[in-house]
Amino acid sequence: MQQVTQMQATKRPNVLQQVREAGILAVLLLGALIFSFTVPSFFTVDNVISGIGLSAAINTVVAIGLTYVIITGGIDLSVGSVAALAAVIGADLMQRGTPALLAVLIALAVGALAGLINGLLVTRVKLAPFIVTLGTMTFYRGLALSYTNGQPILSMPDGFKQALGGTVAGLPMPLVIAVLLVILGSLLLRYTKTGQYILAIGGNAEAVRLSGINVSRYTTLTYVISGVMAAVAALVLVAQLGAAEPILGNGWELNAIAAAVVGGASLSGGKGNIVGALLGALLLSMLQNVLTLLNVQAFYQMLATGLIIIGAMVIDRYTRGE
């Protein structure tokens, strides 16, 4: 008898978990289904791939980084500013004739460094992540603005635009990059020790510390990842738009946090998954796409967006059936 209850208990979580992860996917598919029938030109390969997918790509990349931070129970408000800083430095270098590859690497390093500073302030100086990244959000933005004197940097090399903003096998590069990073990010989180420690820190940092694991190091790492992801997103965007602006990335943090949370991350830490971030970003983009296709007037767009975000979360919750 006892054996039986235990076996039931063993099985249940797996099925439950699958349904749970599927919650947001269900919402997404349901939405897609409804819109396919109601919104003309919604369900075309082109609209789905390069309309929704492409515009979700940037947000997805940023949200991947943020998901890591959020899992540890932290937050990174500075992603948009880090993106701007990496973008203008990278673009400026390219404009001055630095080889694109080198410029890209330097931009990524800028992102990493900016993230490292965030991480060290959080883990070594032990300040609240919110306040640290609120401060650096302003600071990095100020840096980007004074670096460029507020001007956009135009005319990126074509090779660079092609490499990050073009298409491969008919698929837009930004989308390909986002999907690759989602896969990579998932693997890192689920199948490496590092990922496991990051999850564990969010669950019970004290327990992890007592296991002799360097909690500070792994927590800092998440901020570095977040910075690098912001830089990647920035480079992809610059390649697409052909210009790097110091005001680029304004408001990214909110969109990315939203994508991560819609995708199942919990702001109190310990929970989160990268595929969820992708799904969350897709859901938000789909929403934007449909409202544009339907030519909903600005004010009503806001009403609809608010309602649908909450509605999606309600459906998600009841699908998960918790």
Partner: protein, 502 residues
Amino acid sequence: MTALLSAHDIRKAFSGVTVLQGVSFSVEPGEVHALLGENGAGKSTLLKTLFGIYQADSGVLRVDGQEVTFRGPRDAQRHGVAMIHQELALVPELSVAQNVLLGQEGQGPWLNYRHLNDRARPYLDQVGLQVDPRRPVRQLTIAQQQMVEIARALALQARVIIMDEPTSSLAMQEIEALYGVIRTLTARGVGIVYVSHHFDEIEALADRVTVLRDGQHIATVDQRAVTREQLVSMMVGRDIPALHGQAPRPLGDVRLDVRGLTRRGVFEDVTFQVCAGEIVTLAGLIGSGRTDVLRAVYGADGGVTGTVHLDGEALARRSPDRLMRRGVGFIAEDRRQQGIVPDAPVSLNLLLTSWAKGKVGLGARESRAVVEPLMERLRVRPANPQQIIRRLSGGNQQKVILARWLAAGCTLLLIDEPTRGIDVASKADLYALLDELAAQGVAVLMVSSELPEVLRLSDRVLVMRGGRVAGELSRQEASEERILALATGANADATGYADASD
């Protein structure tokens, strides 16, 4: 023989308050060295110093005779020291195997789940825990989690294992398993530091015993050379009332009437009554569903069917706040997650419910008048109502939670593992207190895994097995053997299973 790990003349103070003073302690290969002392005596603090969580203000640590400093748990682990913490230190979202091997995943950056599960398996077997290593620890009962902690210490292959009240949430069977584990380990030359408030365990396991009182080293003695009474008097420095015997109590009307309580997959068709002035205990093995039944009565979880009547009135929509107002009290099993508000002072933790009942106002004088006598009566140390409860020793925290319901008053008390982590002296106090409550007509429904406690307190024992009530024993019928037989399902016919259904 050089000691594996030793501490000499340790002093430790927290913001000026001395907790340990001149304490020396050592553990040798193959020995079990028990540490005894009242709640708040400084046992956990000493152990945390040995494990590098705290750094002593003065004194030295030695490993194999070599002086060492532990700047953190990592250093201690490197020197072959592992610790099982009094408050569970597991990551709820990770699987059992991941918890067992946390920080010991092996070489390379990758995580091989199958490999982890396979490696965790033998340690789980050693402690006799039969759960799927892939299950998240969050879904385990607290007793099962305790076993995971033990398995984790084994996985470290440590030469010294510090165990801070490893049995406080275990029942008989698991404790036996733990004995086995410890004996295997000591045979291999591992040294064990063992803290428990149970003399049975000390007598069964310990080679030497060190007694602490108020942070002072009282004595280190050969366990076989002292009696229980001698140890107790070293610990408390006063006489304590005997723990046995209690005449049957006069019972009042049926207060709690539970019928067909079911939560699919967890417990099924649980039916019983508790009368005013009666103490009824739910006994059983861990995972038998006792905690869940208790929570279901209180309305703490959803998804429960069946009826609950209080004083003849049906409680249709049960929730903790509704039941509290109806005079029901509840003390959860998991003190840290469900009992205390860790960063709040003792007074808030104690008065939370009384405020809601309007029994006590917020005024300083008024609350002191309620809090101080209760703290005194339950011997909460330090007797400072403003102390942050997290900084109290585990046993003292438990007393504060009990005091919460004494202050608020209740006519039905639901209490899960009431004496978890409580020292002998306080346990006696507490038993007397529960007797007194019963005598006042309070109905008590208790879950306990400690058989002597069950026998000492209960007017009736309901034994649960696999989510069902397997049998009911009156005070006269109850014995350790019969309870165990019902709980395990051995010889069910011979032990009055038929009594169960009424």
